[in-house]
Point group: D2
Chain length 290, copies 4
């Protein structure tokens, strides 16, 4: 089982949230390593936006995150107002940098915790539905990267939630044709550097968890010793696939089948409904070899 976290708010040194908090993502991996829960030692990734407005940077590594000196250096030297971090636990595909999240396309970052059940059997059909011009960009062998490229194919850059609804609908239709049950299990994070979308969904209706920090006060409470975070603003948000702590009132759980949009002004939460019918009727698969 993978884990991920997203930060949206004032610029922070990445290490402040990744390492120094005793509730950070790496600390989670370390604790899971210490026996409490599942380990995530099969790859790590970080995607971050700069204040400069450049395309996001990405760091991928197959070294264990809790013991990767390069990651510590990066996290200590990079400030970012918006980043996504992901620790991976493979269910079979190769452990290699090209299989690490976040995946990137231009200004877009994508992380996925979960699985497409029966992916090897569906892989060809799903890749085939990817926009031909995007096809060469698929460099690894994971279900998540293909799902990202399907979402790009279905318009992620115009309307991320709608595109994910169509992409996941398409996966579900494909799975039915293959006789695969409960195909999608997902918590997904997407960003373009301006907003952060977080989706919780599973075909079965028993999704992996997803949480958003309740408010500025809760972030301050999570990091009592961090002077900077004591100055956190009301708009700052932490989104996490797993709760970092059990302090009451800190986290809002994102409900089943829901998309959260973290953005300037009021955040938005709305139902997430895969567009299966729409895909079946309206979508024309890209042309194939004659």
């Amino acid at each position: 089982m993978c884990r991920w976290m997203g930060w949206y708010g004032q610029p922070v040194r990445i290490e402040e949230l990744l390492f120094e908090s005793k509730h950070g993502l790496i600390d989670q991996s370390l604790h899971s390593r210490m026996g409490a829960e599942t380990t995530n030692g099969d790859g790590f990734g970080l995607g971050w936006y700069s204040l400069s407005g450049d395309d996001p940077g990405v760091y991928h590594s197959v070294a264990p995150a809790w013991n990767d000196p390069n990651l510590r250096e990066l996290a200590a030297h990079i400030e970012s107002p918006l980043f996504l971090a992901h620790v991976r636990a493979t269910s079979g595909t190769a452990i290699q940098n090209t299989n690490c999240h976040p995946f990137r396309h231009g200004r877009w970052l994508f992380v996925h915790n979960g699985v497409l059940a029966g992916f090897p059997a569906m892989r060809r059909d799903l890749m085939l539905a990817v926009e031909p011009e995007l096809f060469p960009n698929i460099q690894g062998s994971t279900d998540s990267e293909v799902l990202f490229h399907l979402a790009l194919t279905f318009g992620l850059e115009d309307d991320p939630v709608a595109a994910l609804e169509r992409a996941i609908g398409f996966v579900e239709v494909t799975a039915e044709r293959h006789g695969i049950e409960h195909v999608v299990q997902a918590s997904i994070g997407v960003s373009d550097g301006q907003r952060l979308w977080a989706v919780r969904y599973s075909t079965e209706g028993r999704s992996r968890t997803l949480f958003v920090s309740a408010d500025a006060a809760s972030i301050r409470e999570l990091h009592p010793d961090n002077a900077r975070l004591q100055r956190v603003r009301d708009e700052d948000r932490l989104v996490v696939s797993e709760p970092f702590s059990d302090l009451p009132g800190i986290w809002h759980e994102i409900p089943e089948s829901t998309a959260l949009v973290v953005q300037p002004g009021e955040d938005e939460q709305r139902p997430f409904r895969p567009q299966r019918a729409a895909v079946a009727s309206g979508f024309t698969a890209p042309a194939t070899v004659p």
Copy 2:
């Protein structure tokens, strides 16, 4: 530019040919590293058959071959009557184990020195033509792995040379549709543990080199200090993409557009002619998403 070598003959410790010879593949890499020629530092692979008749073993590494302790250990402890070794120089795809040769399917090993020009543009069409049941086995992002799976699709296990002629013909037809010139540049090694096929071919008719050791005497001459190789049999063969030395009479050059079959009894050499027409008319692309 990649390099490869194949050994077919009496069992040898792999290190005897890979490291100890001053004309070995690793020594070549080392020399190229020392300034004489192109380096091959982007991945190494070894596939070997055992006397036991098991499926071949494969070792892949992205460490430089000249300085990989695991490879030295393996090569020192494994005896094999038939192996293929490959050093890689990427022209762009990721440096990762899943991109290292030899590729394997059951008892079959495949190495390729060369390139499919314009591969990113053709990648989708070529992968699409791979037998759907084989599709999930493509784990990396190289042109060579796709070419291997095309050859498997076109019958490699029944008739390797004919299958390669059809696969390369199919690549050439696809390239023409994409307006790509001189698409195939290849020296290819294939084995099933019983025979060793070596093909030299390029669309342009200016192929990378390919050589086979002239006879037992020439192998003895190449390894004057190797007691075991002084007992080499007349059937033993070394196939190499680049000449290891310039001793006159040691190597036979495989001509342009030629397939060599190293096998029990007399070796065979025959023209290699891609089957473009056959493919265009007779080949039915595997069914795609409806």
Copy 3:
């Protein structure tokens, strides 16, 4: 916490004990990864002897053992009558191949589960006591490698148990000078290809566990589906740092402060008593810079 296992007996394919048993070392790592206990994902090593009588081969990797294709290949293709395997969990030193066990010197292999407390403070003094000719062979930064070289300095190749008693005595004397308590925590495996020594000891008298398979019948019981292991001989022994299963009667626990010698004929078990006095009085530290 690290783990290790040793096999002494008839030749087996390494994978039979490492992967295929549901009680194997890798399976343990996998289970610990699944949440039950500590993970060992910071390095793997295998040292094996061949029937040929050659020096042992060694394979080291920092990829997670449960997902390392090269390890699976090796384990599937190598037969060995005597091997040591080790999974590592670092408590701080770098994750790199030169820090992976087994360490090797000529025909000798050495694995260690445990720790020398306060090692950074003692490192210089301990390295200084290593025989100057052995000094350049220390390639990594672990306490275990230094302990091995101390044991070599104190005569491991002549009398492994006595040398370990002197080496650990020397470490304990050094620790006292540095004010370090409970310095040694160890289960140690050593072999020269003829015998397998296993030591359980800690300064505190609360040592990591160490077990030896009870007898041939117990090994057969551990691997009910393995035809080869059903033919296991009475002399065959499995030594493990952690019990693979809780089947009653399968394992003998090695007592505290005990050395086990697995050898042709009757095995031997004897007290392990660090030689602190002997070292303090009789040992002359190697000459240092004038």
Copy 4:
């Protein structure tokens, strides 16, 4: 043979000097890879200072620099007014991150192109002379890291050039005791974030090359298409172990046995004379095991 470069001046994106210039360090590695000269594919390192005044960041990698996506990301997203980059070609020690330059101690960075001849034989004596408190910081197995810690022992943080003169003098005295000739071959870069010291020296008097950019105009000439570098200031300096181009007038060669100090105001160049006598008489080796 290693290579290194140092930048001292206005903040630049590291990629501007490392990748985008056709005379950059990576381009050099690539060219050497393409056949013109020695390859440097055994490890890469980058140490950079930020405007914030923090301790420098360090990135180490054993992937080939020309094909390391993480390095490209870093170089594209980090701005620095002072950095050191190093590509490594090992002459035998392990290829691992802990052997990659720059080495760091607090605010200090150190790179070395060259070799200490006969290092394995001297390694123990040299490490023994390292200040005991610094000893645990030696994490790798290279001669360069030991030389750095000797220089720290001899006062690098107070007077870098004098400390290097004492450290190298000590190495030369030690080498003589071991009967090693021509022991030191070095071009060395050192920085504390305020100044950049560059030393060219060899025992034999035939040192590796070392160059400094002539003046602002020459840097502009080296990067005609880089708008930012067209605004380069007179104080900005590029120091390189190998000339990036042969444009006349671009580079000043640092003479044999010379130390260059790049600093605010006028740079300084002075003779570099190892302090052998001083060491022999005045230096007291740190206390050893009693």
